[in-house]
Symmetry: C2
């Protein structure tokens, strides 16, 4: 082997060939993962974990191929490197980042972490049922120590200032706890004010009216109808998507085969409505990444937070918009064939925009949601800074829920053990959810400038213009920029909380009449 002898272009092509194989492998892994959750016979689980383990091993072997390191060096060290366009430079940069991350972490640590995650998730499930934090704690502690080790190495690789920053960077490249702290401080202030406004408002939402029974087969039709409306094709002979049912909704796939799942509750039809819109938002982002960039690193979603901005844009900004329902509610009533009889549009819209501080993140509304995230972020930040220990997590959790949301946590299953993320070792992931809301607010502000009559489009039942705007202003950039830069390219601004808060205030003051 030795140094690659090719020209700059040849070396770049070789590097892209390797990226291509990685993406093909990952796109297959995505289907294998989807199958496990949707179609696999129950008995197949052990076999499947072997398959997933092998895929990870093959993927790891591919990315740590020393030839990749040599190609990157030859490309970046080439005297004509600057002649590469920014897309190619970005591809090389992203490949280098992946290569550095995968090669610098010792395989022993990676394997040990994977095993410990599997064990910890398993224990977490049992401990959650048993409401027994002490059962969960020892394995969480082990996993945390492993993530600390990884963070120490990643700090160096990424030039991150803190361990926690190094972990955040895995999900939200370039983001730091310092920036998040600042923007979350403003967010908390704004959310608390909005919650107070709503609680003191003359109108009240009654979410219990959403419990009318709607058969699953009808909900399937509603999901297809909504998918069609947002431009996510799941039914035509050229469809690139499909909808299946799982316990927890998710999106999986790549470009021409992106699948979403939802959960149908016969007495909670709205749950599936908003799952389909949420996951559909993820799906159309994946499907509208530039076709020329398929199998390249630039041809992926920008970050977890930007991905979440797209799903929440479709679910909340579009899908919970009163004007959208003035158009779609009659269609929904027709599809449900009388099941919603007696349920007035205004009451329905209030109910789907019911705001109330609660204990469980995944059931939270779009206003209180951010507070759930702030709590998790602050705890993670303090944990990795050594300010609190694993021991103190339950108390820290309960104190913050009392202080920020005013709710009393009764046991650790509805408290510190409610989410799977920490059990899975995904420290640093949570902030992305709230960043998604914040990015979305900034995008909406910009879009409102570009399409001044966007509200009329929504009340006309059209998502097409908004969709086209998202494709042109967000999707088309793929992973050409880190999230912070993308937001600047899209809106001309740095990360700002005001647009999201203004959106909430505008929407909820109208809805609740305060």
């Amino acid at each position: 082997m030795g140094d690659p002898k090719g020209s700059l272009q040849e070396n770049y092509s070789s590097l892209m060939g390797k990226a291509r194989e990685l993406f093909i492998l990952q796109s297959m892994g995505s289907i294998i993962g989807w199958d496990m959750e949707t179609k696999m016979p129950p008995k197949g689980i052990q076999q499947r974990s072997q398959q997933i383990g092998l895929l990870q091993k093959i993927g790891h072997r591919m990315i740590v191929d020393p030839e990749i390191g040599r190609l990157i060096e030859a490309i970046t060290g080439n005297k004509d490197y600057d002649s590469l366009d920014r897309i190619k430079k970005r591809n090389v940069h992203l490949m280098k980042k992946d290569y550095d991350e995968e090669t610098k972490l010792p395989e022993k640590l990676v394997v040990e972490t994977a095993k410990q995650s599997a064990i910890t998730v398993d224990i977490w499930k049992k401990a959650k049922v048993a409401k027994d934090w002490e059962m969960f704690k020892p394995d969480l502690e082990k996993l945390f120590e492993l993530r600390v080790k990884a963070a120490d190495i990643l700090m160096d690789v990424k030039g991150a200032k803190t361990r926690y920053d190094a972990l955040i960077d895995l999900f939200e490249p370039g983001m730091t706890a310092e920036i998040i702290t600042e923007v979350f401080t403003g967010m908390r202030r704004g959310l608390v004010k909005t919650i107070g406004d709503i609680q003191g408002a003359p109108r009240k939402a009654d979410p219990s009216i959403l419990s009318k029974s709607v058969p699953v087969a009808t909900q399937v039709k509603i999901g297809e109808s909504l998918s069609e409306l947002i431009g996510y094709d799941v039914t035509s002979p050229e469809a690139g998507g499909r909808i299946d049912e799982t316990e927890h909704p998710f999106t999986a796939g790549y470009y021409d085969d992106v699948r979403i799942t939802t959960h149908y509750y016969e007495d909670k039809f709205a749950s599936s409505v908003f799952s389909v819109l949420h996951e559909g938002g993820h799906a159309i982002y994946e499907q509208n990444l530039p076709r020329d960039w398929k199998y390249q690193l630039v041809g992926t979603g920008c970050s977890m937070g930007i991905h979440e901005s797209q799903s929440r844009f479709v679910e909340n900004i579009f899908g919970r918009n009163p004007e959208f329902w003035s158009h779609y509610y009659p269609i929904l009533c027709e599809l449900t064939g009388g099941a919603l009889a007696g349920l007035a549009l205004d009451d329905f819209v209030l109910a789907i925009n019911h705001v109330e501080p609660s204990k469980i993140r995944i059931e939270a509304d779009e206003v209180t949601y951010g507070l759930h995230i702030i709590i998790r972020f602050e705890i993670e930040r303090d944990l990795f800074a050594g300010k609190i220990g694993i021991d103190e997590l339950p108390q820290a959790w309960n104190d913050k829920y009392k202080e920020y949301l005013g709710v009393e946590i009764q046991n650790d299953s509805e408290g510190v053990m409610q989410d799977t993320h920490w059990a899975d070792g995904a420290f640093g992931y949570f902030p992305s959810y709230a960043l998604g809301n914040i990015y979305g607010g900034q995008m909406l502000e910009k879009m409102a400038g570009d399409i001044p009559d966007y509200k009329e489009k929504i009340s006309g039942g059209s998502f097409a213009e908004m969709r086209a705007w998202l494709v042109e202003n967000v999707h088309k950039y793929g992973n050409l920029y880190d999230a912070a830069d993308l937001i600047k390219v899209v809106t001309g601004d740095d990360l700002r909380i005001e647009p999201f808060l203004n959106y909430l205030d505008d929407k909820y003051s109208n809805l609740y009449g305060y």
Copy 2:
């Protein structure tokens, strides 16, 4: 690297580690292939072909790993080689066979053949619709030449006497055209006699009575009921199988996750009944291979022919048995809720055992089926012996259909172009189908000796005893023997046509009253 330094046992373990990865990869490929036929959104096809291509490439890289060659040499050359048990020896033998096949065929030829197959299948589809042999011929000729080249190399690898034997060996290891010719000669004589007997018999079947309309949802329930009856679990929380719908039924999977497909025709419900039984027969074979042999070469089905014997055993010997229907017909009538009203059991049983020479193999009954195979076998044998050319295929085909089955082929779409096998390059595959019937006959004869009251079991609606016999006498041997040896182990006899012919004569003389 160099010579493996390990002990015999260490080298054997290393070799098995490599086999294990191959099986895990293949089991994943099987799911990816299943998904393509059942669930994949239409737009995903191009992406999927990239995934399958990559899987093949990775699998190829794994099997041609020179380390495998060195391990095999070190093991077989070890002075203590004979101390290995026969299972280990068989594993080494089968691994060596795969390794030799994959390493001796030049990669250029393999890639060219794969490409030419894809092209030829594509052209075949179009030519079949257009009934245009001349459109198909040039590409079939190219593909044939590539298979000749491969056969020349494989002759050497396998020590086969003829090119055609080398190809047969890919599907039916150890089998030769000479043996097949002999047994097929006897089979043809017997089948022609049985067909004549049935045509001259007093009773006549009326298959048109099977066209009563049965809704797909009901057929799904019937399929699940039949699966349960044969011990193929697709519904319980411990299920290791599932049933989906495809154009052409197939079985895919490995051990704990083996899936079958069927096709539901509302006005041909029997089609799905027998597809489920047929594919279910393949599935229970795969699921009952010895668990200790999972991820080993001995832990696979023995040959295509033995696999086919298992599917036909369940479909025909059990599933088309008049005594089985005396038990199951009332259940079927109940499941179909009156849709079969007025259809008497005896007429139903005759109809599902209707025998009539026809033009299309996949629609043929269990008696005439063998003649379709003999025709294909003789043509393939003569083609690879240079006795006929590609040019002469249509005429040879039509002449033989006239002579063997007494039918006039009207065009090449219902003639020489009816099957996909040649377009796919799978020359040598066809004999396995008929061998499956013949093996099955021998197994039945032996089983009748071991379970003298097996017919009473069947009329009692129980498949459990037959299933247990198959597991104990066939499944449990996996791929420990070549098919010819397995038949000897199971029945004490070499390949013999008489049991199959006796089974047919016994069954059909009773049915048709001749």
